[in-house]
């Protein structure tokens, strides 16, 4: 079974006309048998990473290797074969075909992959027994609870015994009564010969994980001395999409705040003069930088960076004073 090796992964796409870069030179290694949790706030790129692992999205640059397969290079029939045979996907919304029974959902997935009728039928029954749905095989999804649908979805992901399972928020659509069975099932899947990658907000899954990958930058609450930064004219302080730890005040010169557009152009948002601050939202809410900060092109600029705690204390003093 393949280990997974991600190197220099950059993903950039357009959202509302703006360039969004959830991954910038991202690296990750996962070993066979790992159950990895991708944690992070909404929009941090969890589903994007799953989609890239499943070869549904192609990264802007970088490499994803699953065993000997360079996933980013797959095309045409090889791409379909990879999706079919190497990856099993568990969707947040289950995504069972509503017109098919539980058993038929599995059967069709296998038939689409060229499995014969009798073996496909037998395997579908075995998998549904494995997930505890032997009595609900002939029910359509509409007649199953959310937890049961998710178990069917997991069984479908296992239909072709793929070495990589990716699960997108598998517990998000379930109530607390239904979560237990799904969590246990996901844990059991991560066995030697298989890697399970789960994108989730659900911290109940944390004890299951062999690896936890935080995709949201940590808030910089630690103590850290103020950081004086001297910038040459036109020099970039931080780029849109970077992790954001510090809040900056302009000591001298001028900072241009610029939004990078999807078409490669730049749109000026604001000019920050001495005595004013910028860049507070990213550390405050654990977000990536939503714009680029660059020293004015015509004069050298000096800024000082503060941790969020120091920045708050400083503003409080300043207000009190």
């Amino acid at each position: 079974m393949p280990d997974i090796r991600i190197r220099n992964l950059t993903m950039e796409y357009s959202s509302g006309g703006y360039a969004v870069r959830p991954f910038d030179q991202f690296d990750l290694d996962l070993k066979t048998g790992d159950l990895a949790l991708l944690l992070g706030a909404s929009g941090c790129g969890k589903t994007t990473l799953l989609s890239m692992l499943a070869s549904i999205l192609t990264p802007t640059s970088g490499s994803i290797q699953v065993g000997d397969t360079e996933v980013t290079a797959l095309k045409g029939a090889d791409l379909s074969r990879y999706r079919r045979e190497t990856v099993g996907v568990v969707f947040q919304a289950f995504n069972l075909i509503p017109s098919l029974t539980a058993k038929e959902n599995l059967y069709v997935a296998m038939r689409n992959a060229g499995v014969g009728r009798a073996p496909a039928k037998k395997r579908a029954e075995e998998l549904l027994e494995m997930v505890g749905l032997e009595h609900r095989m002939d029910h359509r999804p509409g007649k199953l609870s959310g937890g049961q649908q998710q178990r069917v979805s997991i069984a479908r992901a296992l239909a072709l015994d793929p070495p990589l399972i990716v699960a997108d928020e598998p517990t998000a659509s379930l109530d607390y009564m239904q979560v237990d069975g799904v969590i246990r099932l996901l844990r059991e899947l991560a066995a030697p010969g298989r890697v399970v990658v789960i994108a989730t907000h659900d911290e109940r899954l944390l004890p299951l994980a062999d690896r936890v990958v935080e995709l949201t930058p940590h808030r910089a609450e630690e103590s850290r001395p103020p950081e004086r930064v001297e910038l040459a004219p036109g020099q970039t302080l931080f780029r849109q999409g970077d992790e954001g730890i510090m809040v900056y005040e302009v000591d001298s010169g001028r900072i241009d705040i610029i939004q990078e557009m999807a078409d490669g152009t730049e749109q000026p948002l604001a000019v920050v003069e001495p005595g004013n601050y910028f860049g507070e939202l990213a550390p405050m809410f654990g977000l990536r930088r939503s714009a680029t900060a660059r020293a004015a092109a015509d004069l050298p600029t000096v800024v000082t960076g503060y941790t969020l705690r120091d920045f708050r204390a400083r503003r409080s003093l300043s207000t009190d004073g």
């Binding site: 549904i56 999706r83 075909i97 509503p98 017109s99 098919l100 038929e104 689409n112």
Partner: protein
């Protein structure tokens, strides 16, 4: 592919049943119209064959015995019949008239030599044997033994024939030649032409010889516009049917976008996704076409003349239904092809 297609048809059964019912009505109308066209096209060789002639003699410059306004002396038939290679030759009068008294209707008038070429095969009663007797085709609602007004003269209906309609299903009255000459030529011994059994090498002076195919072609010419209208109407009906099926399949495809995304995300070959949609569309179309057969029979009752379907018509309709189904699936197929597999991710 079969299973997903069949199950989706079951799952959305009510919608597809409505689509099949509406489409079958459109198909049925199209089928009836196309049957009319077949009937019209079939009646031409049928009426020509009724004369059991091999050749026809008309005036030089005449377009043909059915359409000409240039008449000949009926006695020409005697000269022709004496010609070498000719077994039989009879003058014929072919004209339009009206029949009935209270509410007269258009009718074709065929005047033929009693017992000669042009006397129709009898399905009920007997052939006209003397002046004042008539045989009628379907479309004239009289019984054998009734009197019938034809061109102002009264005839006794002595027989019926199973065919004989022409000029877009207009019924025909077959009367002795002399009676037809009375109606059309005030008793002058004239005729539109001479039906010839055998082979005439040289036509009489100022006359021409036509074979059956030339006569059929001449008879078909005035009908061409009408036939073309039927063809266009039928094609429009097929297109409307394609539109109805296309709309239903398109709407279903819209509802199934996430299914397609899941199929793609899980590596199902595109041919299976596209093939399933096409198959669904073709099944709906073929079922509608099958239901259209009885519908066309019902529609046929309201038509002024018979609608002829036949085995060829059924095969042709099946082929058209398949083409209509495939065309109708195109919009849905386009949706399926352009669905982004990434759409499978995310919540409801």
């Amino acid at each position: 592919m079969w299973l997903v297609t069949a199950r989706d048809l079951q799952f959305r059964a009510r919608r597809f049943i409505i689509a099949i019912a509406v489409t079958s009505l459109v198909f049925g109308i199209a089928l009836a119209i196309d049957g009319m066209r077949r009937s019209v096209q079939h009646e031409i060789p049928a009426i020509v064959a009724n004369f059991d002639a091999d050749q026809w003699v008309t005036a030089r410059g005449a377009s043909g015995p059915f359409t000409t306004t240039r008449v000949i002396d009926a006695a020409t038939a005697d000269a022709v019949s004496d010609s070498p290679g000719v077994h039989e030759a009879d003058a014929v009068v072919l004209s339009r008239t009206v029949s009935g008294s209270g509410d007269p209707a258009d009718a074709n008038l065929v005047g033929h030599v009693v017992g000669g070429l042009g006397a129709p095969p009898i399905s009920e009663g007997h052939a006209a044997r003397t002046s004042g007797e008539a045989v009628v085709s379907p479309g004239i609602t009289v019984d054998v033994g009734d009197d019938l007004q034809v061109g102002g003269e009264t005839f006794r209906v002595v027989g019926k024939t199973a065919g004989g309609r022409y000029y877009f299903g207009i019924p025909t009255v077959f009367v002795p030649l002399e009676d037809a000459q009375d109606i059309v030529f005030h008793g002058q011994d004239l005729a539109m032409g001479v039906a010839v059994k055998g082979h005439l090498d040289t036509p009489p002076p100022d006359m021409r010889v036509l074979d059956n195919s030339q006569v059929e072609s001449d008879l078909r010419r005035p009908l061409a516009g009408g036939v073309q209208s039927l063809v266009v109407t039928a094609v429009l009906m097929w297109l409307i049917a394609a539109g109805i099926i296309g709309l239903i399949v398109y709407l279903s495809a819209l509802e199934r976008l996430r299914d397609f995304a899941v199929f793609k995300a899980t590596g199902a070959p595109t041919r299976i996704i596209v093939g399933g949609l096409m198959l669904q569309s073709v099944i709906v179309s073929v079922l509608a076409a099958a239901l259209a057969i009885p519908v066309s029979k019902l529609v046929g009752f309201g038509l002024p003349f018979p609608s002829k379907l036949g085995v060829q018509g059924l095969v042709q309709m099946l082929a058209i239904a398949v083409v209509v189904g495939l065309l109708a699936s195109l919009a849905g197929v386009r949706n399926a092809l352009t669905t982004d597999p990434a759409a499978a991710f995310g919540g409801n």
